[in-house]
Symmetry: C2
Subunit: 336 residues, 2 copies
């Protein structure tokens, strides 16, 4: 059993942060002191951990030298504001916001590239990538030796919770307004998201690619160790509270052996294969679970070099909080 | 002005049939007698046409020799049951159910392949393809000469109304049950569809391809006159009442000239290009409109031969009823 480690969670009152605290408890992570941090607004409120209410404090007033490990689970601007203080205090850092440059904080998904952690000495700085990158890396890493990967197409049908607490509230509110024939008043989103699909998640760059789409491309190449992999991504917002879904089409340079693919997925860590005439859904399968569900495994119509898949996973849990905790579990020997 | 034509609509009480009757009125189609047909269940009810209530009658008792043109807008089994009687009576037929073999009833989308109708003599038998094929053909036909089309990837986010009246009612009912914390009782679908995404629409074949997915591949190849085009399709059900959306990724054998693509789409018939930092949505744009909205036009990340698009269109109107009426407009000279 590892030595207990003193930990801070920045953004502990958020969608990801609250789940992260819950997972630390569930997996009996060797937590010493636990410091829950958020903005001034939540300071004074509390979050439950192991049956007791842990008071949330303002990150701005926090002395990072009290802890050895910091999870940054607020937005990227918050990471940017406070990361230097955590670094100066000698903390190891697991960032969930995507704020740190890739060369300073490698993306880690244990099922895909745990090896990058080997030999690192504390303090360590890593990043838990976007939920799309987690889901795709968990699924494609065990297929890498079977396929001669040339190109991956992804359409990501993202859950509302991928945009945080306020977005979740807005879908509920808009839906109720529509069902009760009250006038619709979008606030968090700039338009109706209930019973609709939004073709853009976050900001786009000058070439029309979403910032999130580019991020996924870079993270997935890094996680799979395939810097030249061609990746095409479209991220869209669907009116689902929790659970991202991904329509994935993979091109191999050689014919795909479906039986071998199914066997590899069946054996893969953190993958649950749904086959036969059934398929997984966010609500029915993914939510609250620790794996990536994979279904609709099939080749291309008239294209033996193509593999088509449908993935669904809990974006908040497996896609973020759980992955970060799994990374921490690999790090703790060094950090204790 | 053409001579008025006596018309029958089979499935006139359905999602598509009702819209079809409304469009005949809107576009001042030269209708002579209008016979509205459905099952025994709806016989005796009525549908409004030009301000009067037209009585719905049972198709089984109908004498098809009273009409020159029949729209089959019920399910494929209904087309199969009654098409022989319409043929024997010398009717021209526009089938919307996909029941007729391609070699007996060519798929027609006027914007893409109106030419197949030239020189046909009444009685004519054609088929108005799936709404996905309509949207893709309308968008890709005007780009054909600009791109050396090699492969098309599509993820179709299909509206609930694509499955008809009962499905629409079920999404509303399930949503209300969930918002009111009442137990969920799926009936039309085998699981929760509200706030969820279902990775399968209709039945799958032994290889795991949806019947609808295969149909789209065949129809799109036929409509574009590209029998060898490689097409990869995944159709999923999203909790949207009306308006299909399509994430489309096109591979050309040569670099894509984005300016030329934008100009061609801007000029294309039945296409509305949404550019800049905006994007079209089913609810905000497509519903009730006669065009296919195209947005998020961009090349691949690091792949100049790729073109990515987001389409949304009213599946019931442009995807079915309107396309069928547009086909009829081309046919009427022959039929009068
Ligand atoms: N949601 C997902 O599926 C997902 C998946 C992968 C990665 N991520 C990333 O995880 C991070 C958190 O996302 P979320 O969905 O949990 O967001 P959220 O539900 O909106 O929660 C935001 C959290 O950040 C805190 N915060 C906001 N402003 C702050 C400030 N100035 N100083 C300190 N704390 C501040 C909030 O605290 P208050 O209570 O004080 O406002 C809250 O704890 C984001 O970077 C996001 O991109 C999210
Ligand atoms: N919805 C779309 O977006 C869409 C798009 C393209 C193509 N289509 C195709 O269009 C057709 C109709 O779809 P829909 O969405 O309009 O379905 P729908 O809303 O369920 O309507 C079904 C229609 O078929 C009639 N019908 C059912 N059983 C019948 C029978 N035994 N004899 C005569 N009529 C019968 C119904 O009449 P009653 O009132 O008597 O039950 C009703 O008018 C289907 O083949 C569908 O695949 C639909």
């Amino acid at each position: 059993m590892s030595q207990p480690i003193d930990i801070a969670v920045v953004g502990a009152t958020g969608t990801v942060g609250e789940t992260l605290v819950q997972i630390l408890e569930e997996c009996q992570f060797p937590v010493g002191a636990l410091h829950l941090l958020a903005s001034m607004e939540s300071a004074g409120s509390s979050v439950t951990y192991k049956g007791r209410n842990v008071r949330v404090r303002e990150v701005d007033a926090f002395d990072f030298s009290q802890v050895k490990l910091v999870f940054f689970a607020a937005g990227p601007a918050v990471t940017r504001s406070f990361v230097a203080r955590a670094q100066a205090a000698g903390c190891s850092i697991i960032d969930l916001s995507g704020a740190l440059p890739a060369d300073q904080a490698p993306a880690v998904v244990p099922e895909a590239n745990a090896a990058v952690l080997v030999g690192l000495k504390a303090p360590v700085q890593v990043h838990s990538p976007s939920s799309a990158a987690v889901a795709l890396a968990v699924t494609l890493a065990p297929l890498k030796h079977l396929l001669d990967l040339e190109r991956v197409h992804v359409t990501a049908c993202m859950a509302i919770s991928a945009q945080g607490r306020e977005a979740v509230g807005e879908l509920a509110r808009q839906t109720a307004e529509l069902l009760n024939a009250r006038p619709l008043e979008p606030r968090f989103f700039d338009r109706q998201v209930a019973f609709n699909v939004l073709a853009q998640v976050g900001a786009n760059d000058a070439e029309g690619h979403g910032v999130l789409e580019r991020r996924l491309v870079n993270e997935l190449r890094e996680l799979l160790g395939l810097p030249l992999l061609k990746i095409s991504v479209t991220c869209v917002q669907v009116p689902v509270f929790f659970g991202d879904s991904y329509s994935v089409s993979v091109h191999s340079r050689k014919a795909v052996d479906l039986a071998a693919v199914n066997a590899a997925l069946e054996a893969a860590e953190s993958v649950e294969l749904v086959d036969g005439d059934d398929y997984p859904t966010p609500v029915g399968d993914a939510v609250g679970q620790d794996v990536v569900y994979v279904g609709r495994v099939r080749s291309g119509i008239d294209e033996a070099e193509q593999l088509n898949l449908w993935l669904t996973t809990d974006n908040v849990r497996k896609g973020a909080a759980l992955n970060a905790v799994q990374v921490a579990q690999l790090l703790i020997k060094d950090l204790a």
